[in-house]
Amino acid sequence: MSSLKEVTDANFEQEVLSSGKTVIVDFWAEWCGPCRRVGPILEQIAVENSDKIEVVKLNVDDNPQTAAKYHITSIPAMKVYQGGEVVKSVIGAKPKPALESELAAFLA
């Protein structure tokens, strides 16, 4: 089981858009194999950088409104939110070093 908080259509505004922190949202689904691979990597990144970022998950099947709003057409998709805006998108499962370098600006 994932240790990451699940956000929903209902609380996305409050948990992500209005958050004072940098929030990385992992858009995922149960049936997506690559999502299951990248999940544990994101958990590690979340733990190792807990002072700088928060990582949450959004199940695209259960929360279609948010997935549609952010034009998710490929998962896993990881979007970085600051002050309610998407400041970075990463698409596709990547090894930890690759993800870390993509997200480097937010982990430093």
Partner: protein
Amino acid sequence: MNQMIIIGSGPAGYTAAIYAARAGLAPLVIASSVEVGGELMNTTEVENFPGFPEGIMGPELMEKMQAQAERFDATVIYEDVTSVDLSGEVKKVTLGSGEVHEALSVIVATGSAYRKLGIEHEDRLSGYGISWCATCDGAFFRKHEIAVVGGGDSAMEEANFLTRFADKVYLIHRRDTFRASKIMQDRSKENPKIEILYNSEVSAIHGDTQLSGLTLRDTLTGEERELEVTGLFVAIGNDPRVHLFHGQLDLTVEGTIAVDGRSSKTNLEGVFAAGDVIDPTYRQAVTAAASGTVAALDAEHYLASLPEALLQQATGAVDEGSAPASGSTLDPDGELVSLSDARS
């Protein structure tokens, strides 16, 4: 040091692991961090793997292969190989974590990677309408009109799968005949949601933040037309994944790793290759599995020819990569010894 390292975790890698593990070689399988199980992880129903008369889901088949390898003492780690040094008697494999693993033999089963169209905007719109994985992304195209490009079994499978979601799927193919198997072709031709566009190729991709359409060129007349689609699934084949081995392993003109005849022997002693990375032609789960078997048997034979003193160093598969940071490890009697002692 390990007796054997297997790089890759598709049917070739896992079958090699099953054979090697049953031979008591305790292989270390480096399965990658995000592509564990290989290409079949992205497929749905596999209907042509013998022994499963009702078909089996690709991911389930791969989990079973992994379980079978682990049952016989193969160790599977979810890491990526970043470089290899295969020249000497002792092969060195470096992981993304920086760890270096050594082995007396290496089986390369790295498979192949999706081929790109090589058209402007393809990378920029990847994940924004352009996809290589229908099972991953198909559900986002409910009620959309989308396209699949390709003419092989994977293109047919994707097109059929995508009709579960999309209202219309255009199947774009360069020629007027498909290389896909007859049963897959028939399914596509009979599917009322699929429209096949023969003698067509994608010449341009359009879209600002999302894919909005394609320009298609008629391969016979050169005439161009626009096609409005919100999704494009690319299934035009794969290229062998050989970048780690450039300058060390000989390649064929097709870009696959060159092996000696029907064996798995590469140009380097103790290095074997199996599966799609050596196969430009067949590329099936079953042929990859068979190829993995060949590699395991070849490697076993090679290991048996090595001097006893060298094998002694590897027996028990003392693995410095995962050894405690103190530089110590447990010897077979359970006593803590220093690594340098264990290797002497």
